[in-house]
Amino acid sequence: MSRASRKLSAEVADSPESGESSKSLWGGHLEGGWSWQAFRSRAAIWWTILRISIEERLVYRGDFALGTLMRFLPIVTQIFLWGAVFSAIEATAGSSQVAGYSYRDFIAYYLLTMLSRAFSSMPGLASGIARSIRDGTVKKYLIQPVDMLGFLLLYRVAHKLVYYLVAAGPFALVFYLCRGFFPGWPDPLTLAAFVASLGMAFLLGFFLEATLGMIGFWFLEVSSLLFVYMLFSYFFSGHMFPIDMLPGILGTIVHALPLQYLAYFPSAVFLGKVTGPALAWGLATQLGWVVFFIVASRRTFHLGVRRYSGFGG
């Protein structure tokens, strides 16, 4: 914690809890004041944050529902692009598989990545954190009894909830129209693994982007760095194509990166491309990356705040 923010937090010492422990809304120091009362007041704060964020999000619902439908337009081009690719493959080679995916698999894959991205994409999270560090608004998390990562996570959960509420219609419609591309419902175990991987995709997306945003403590301008990340993520998360298509050593490297769990992995699980021990290992690795980035975001925030100095009011 910087000198300036320490001074500021002293000024608001009349908050429910004071000093360092006031930053424990989400992480850390629960053991000190643990009681049913304290938990209820914390839950009340979480609930308030969630409710405010939901209401804020619903203000632009019209713009938002239209935007969701638009987002499916590129799928239409993908359907025809891959249709053309497969027609040429069948005409020349006679086979009808690309890297183990049939034409139907490809379209189902793209639709499923839209779903995974709906969980894992965090628009504006990293840039928002970096901006709040640059323009000094990060101070509010340092002086109020609110933990930044906890607040942002709840805010994001609220946005996602509203998003699913509004997007459920368009998603259901598109998936229903495209039901012919799917091989049918997977067995309950695969389905459970799919849901688990989606949940972890959300957490991984959040904490990975949050960690990236913390770079703002060290560099003033991170937008170009974030752009590079976005490019890599688009290509290597499997958003653009199933990463099984990548040949040789490149494929091996990409399979070792955490990015694949943001889009490729949940979709491949649903389509039954990952099964048995590979599935268990995949889920465990995904969980490992989630834990890694939870720790990394906490650690970088802590180190960053020690470097940070705020000026003015």
Partner: protein, 278 residues
């Protein structure tokens, strides 16, 4: 001195001012250029990967790997021209309407559409033009022939038609913010619509493809934007029969018509503009 503003000199002045502005923030300019080149690199990598698995984009269409690279370069050339000349301006136009700053543009003794469309030229988007040209040279070196001077001049003419069509679409969408207020989604819409122009029109076939191809050729003519000029570059795909010449002829018409329609909508939008000041 004539009453008629010297449009060409004003345009040069816009270009010069924008260049001075871009060069003031040189690091930013370089980063912007590299970013858009990197984006293109990723796209190119995707197509290279696709052609690892297939010899052609669609059975019997004639769009093999290097033919498609010519197509891709054409997309790059047209998009980079549109982005350099108009993108920043169209973006700014909605903002002018929202804030009421359009008043100042209306007061100037020059055509408002000209002023609004061209005052800020984004030089950093020209990087992709260079990328496109390099890709054309590479694709020809792999194909083993060179384009004839006639093909080149037809190509350049139709690239300009493509730019005109996309510009009309863009300024129409931007002008519609007079009626719609905040229209961030319309910008996304623009990207999604032009997404259809990025592939050879032959891939849109079948029960759903045919109506789609028809719609994006004749009603919203984004499918002719890249397709028509690109075919002039590929020797085996050059128009031969009278029927083959129908689409290029239609493209000329579409370019003129969409400019006229967008001009009309632009003027209607100005007529509906109510300043935002007190």
């Amino acid at each position: 001195m004539s009453d008629h503003p010297a449009y060409f000199r004003v345009l040069l002045l816009f270009a010069r001012n924008s260049l001075v502005r871009d060069m003031t923030f040189r690091a930013n300019f370089i980063i912007d250029t590299i970013s858009s080149l990197a984006w293109m690199g990723i796209n190119l990598a995707f197509y290279v990967l696709i052609f690892q698995y297939t010899p052609m984009l669609g059975a019997g269409t004639g769009w093999g790997k290097y033919e498609f690279f010519l197509f891709l370069s054409t997309t790059l050339l047209i998009n980079s021209l549109v982005q350099t000349l108009f993108m920043a301006n169209a973006d700014e136009f909605s903002e002018l309407i929202r804030t009421g700053a359009l008043d100042f543009a209306l007061l100037k003794p020059i055509d408002t559409q000209f002023l609004v469309s061209l005052q800020r030229i984004d030089w950093s988007s020209l990087g992709n033009l260079g990328f496109g040209l390099v890709l054309i040279v590479y694709a020809y070196s792999q194909l083993g022939y060179a384009p004839s001077p006639v093909a080149i001049s037809l190509y350049l003419g139709y690239v300009l038609c493509g730019v005109a069509i996309l510009y009309s679409l863009m300024i129409t969408l931007a002008a519609s913010s007079v009626w719609l207020g905040r229209n961030q989604t319309l910008y996304d819409f623009w990207f999604y619509i032009t997404n259809f122009s990025r592939y050879p029109r032959e891939i849109y076939r079948g029960k759903y493809g045919d109506p789609l191809r028809w719609f994006f050729t004749f009603l919203v003519p984004v499918l002719v934007v890249v397709n028509v000029p690109a075919r002039f570059l590929v020797r085996s795909l050059r128009p031969q029969t009278l029927e083959d010449w129908f689409l290029p002829a239609f493209t000329l018409f579409a370019a003129v018509a969409s400019l006229a329609v967008s001009r009309w909508i632009f003027n209607r939008a100005l007529a509906s503009y109510r300043s935002a000041s007190s």
